[in-house]
């Protein structure tokens, strides 16, 4: 079986930022993240021989440019342009490189800046298809795409705005304990419902706040991690799918539904064993779909599930996006995709910025990225476990 990620350690969860706007380039956020990663793990810069980078605003540079910029000489280099799925994809690739001996210590980093006025250009030119077939329709980027998905999901499965509100409110409660989250004020249902419409049925609190920042973690061997004497987590299972279910007229499910049975089987665990879920939350409808497609409830039962499940860190239910997620922490470009993986490592190694999920020993993180036309194409998920010290 291909599902054997033993011997690989994830460590040093690192967050840089967040700032609403910045005059720095993406390289600054990524570089500071690499510096903090190395310092956090006690690894010398010269030992870092692998780098995986995800960034939206680094162009025209890539991971290649950063080796020169940062004075790094690596024997393994990945540029992972998969947005919200890049962290899980990066850790999967890095794990194989560690197992194969192609690299010893790999930094997986996503970072982006957010310059005033820079958002429009990024949205207009996100992909060839979206420039041609989405942007001319209202010039509103992903808000249009996800409004269309949200309304279709509501019509198909009977979801209400309150159901999405429950996710946003629980994540805001989680964010209220996280000092780097940009949105920490309590959110109540009436305020959520009364928010101004952006692209109906999507309203203000269904949208992430674009910002600047970086998220990263290190991947190395369990042996090296033990010698560093820092807490680490292991990968029980990880998988990815790209352009899953292309025949679906509207994206009401993601690629997770294709591989989740194998994922849990490889981990020897089920959804009920997960102490938390870090789900990609560019819009709450997508978080809701992940709860379904990752097996926490049946397809279409997500709305009912969130009506009866406590989603905060300490409520005894299923903690969801325990640092607040992008909906409350902010979306630092592609770093938004690394947020969940970094938070999962934090929870499992006792290095949280906000609230700790009590006794967290195993959790699932899922990624979702790249709205090429009318849906996101990349889905990925990993089951991670706290390593025995």
């Amino acid at each position: 079986m291909s599902q054997d990620y033993s011997g690989v350690a994830l460590l040093a969860p690192t967050t840089v930022g967040y700032q609403r706007y910045s005059d720095h380039g993406a390289a600054w956020f990524i570089g500071r993240c690499v510096a903090d990663l190395l310092a956090g793990a006690g690894v010398a810069k010269d030992e870092l021989d692998g780098l995986a980078v995800s960034s939206m605003t680094l162009a025209p540079d890539s991971a290649v440019s950063l080796t020169e910029h940062f004075g790094l000489t690596t024997r393994w280099l990945e540029h992972v342009p998969m947005g919200g799925a890049a962290a899980v994809v990066s850790l999967r690739r890095a794990a194989r490189a560690i197992q194969a001996g192609d690299a010893r210590v790999i930094a997986c980093v996503a970072g982006d800046t957010n310059r005033k006025g820079g958002f429009r250009d990024a949205i207009e030119n996100f992909s060839v298809f979206s420039r041609q077939a989405v942007y001319p329709y209202g010039a509103a980027g992903p808000n249009v795409v996800f409004a269309l998905i949200t309304r279709a999901y509501m019509a198909e499965f009977g979801a209400t705005r309150e159901d999405f509100g429950r996710i946003c409110i629980a994540q805001r409660e989680n964010a209220s304990h996280n000092p780097v989250a940009l949105l920490r004020d309590p959110l109540d249902m009436q305020t959520y419902l009364d928010a101004r419409p952006i692209a109906e049925p999507v309203h203000l609190f269904d949208c992430v706040l674009p910002c600047a920042g970086a998220e990263g973690f290190l991947v190395t061997s369990v042996e090296r991690a033990r010698s560093l004497d820092v807490p680490f987590v292991e990968i029980l299972a990880v998988d990815e799918r790209h352009n899953a279910f292309p025949e679906d007229p509207v994206q009401l499910r993601g690629g997770w539904a294709m591989f989740r049975d194998e994922l849990y089987a490889a981990a020897g665990l089920g959804p009920g064993d997960m102490n938390f879920v870090q789900a990609y939350d560019d819009y709450p409808v997508i978080a809701l779909q992940q709860l379904e497609d990752l097996g926490f409830c049946d397809k279409g039962a997500g709305p009912e599930f969130v009506r009866h499940t406590e989603l905060t860190c300490t409520g005894g239910g299923l903690p969801l996006n325990t640092c607040g997620g992008q909906l409350s922490a902010g979306q630092a470009g592609f770093a938004g995709g690394h947020l969940g993986t970094v938070e999962a490592i934090r929870q499992l190694t006792g290095q949280v910025l906000g609230q700790q999920v009590p006794d967290a020993s195993v959790g699932i993180v899922s990624g979702y990225g790249m709205v090429n036309y009318d849906r996101c194409l990349c889905s990925a998920a990993a089951i991670l476990r706290r390593a025995d010290s």
């Binding site: 329709y137 209202g138 795409v145 309304r151 019509a155 109906e200 009318d374």
Partner: protein, 130 residues
């Protein structure tokens, strides 16, 4: 009043599959020769949104703005401007093409029984959607 054009999309010379968005390679057979043809413009409304925020002045001045997604009877899903009263999920629609103020050929969806001339009013001042 903007001229109303037939719905013309790329069709694979090899397998006949209708493609959208425009592309260079057929998503069905990987054929590399695609020809623009007039195709059946009927379809079913999949979803819609009323937009209240835009990055472009031409829409900002006209907000709110209706946008629909449509599954064409020929297969592809298209995102289109919507003209007419608030749409109903699943309703039968027609899709036509017009030139927008930036000279882009864009799709306009409207009720299957509506007069397609209404699509020509979309980018005329005060003639947009509500």
């Amino acid at each position: 009043m903007t001229k109303i054009g037939n719905l013309q999309l790329l069709v694979c010379d090899d397998c006949g599959k209708v493609q959208y968005p425009d592309r260079e390679i057929c998503a069905d057979c990987l054929g590399g020769t695609l020809t623009r043809k007039t195709i059946d413009n009927g379809g079913e409304l999949l979803s819609w949104t009323r937009l209240h925020a835009s990055l472009e002045p031409m829409f900002q001045q006209a907000l709110p703005w209706l946008i629909a997604s449509v599954r064409l009877s020929s297969g592809p899903v298209v995102v289109a401007h919507w003209v007419g009263a608030e749409p109903t999920m699943g309703q039968a629609v027609q899709v036509v093409m017009v030139d927008d103020p930036q000279d882009r050929k864009v799709l306009v969806a409207l009720d299957a029984d509506a007069d397609e001339k209404a699509a020509g009013q979309l980018f005329v001042a005060d003639g947009g959607s509500a």
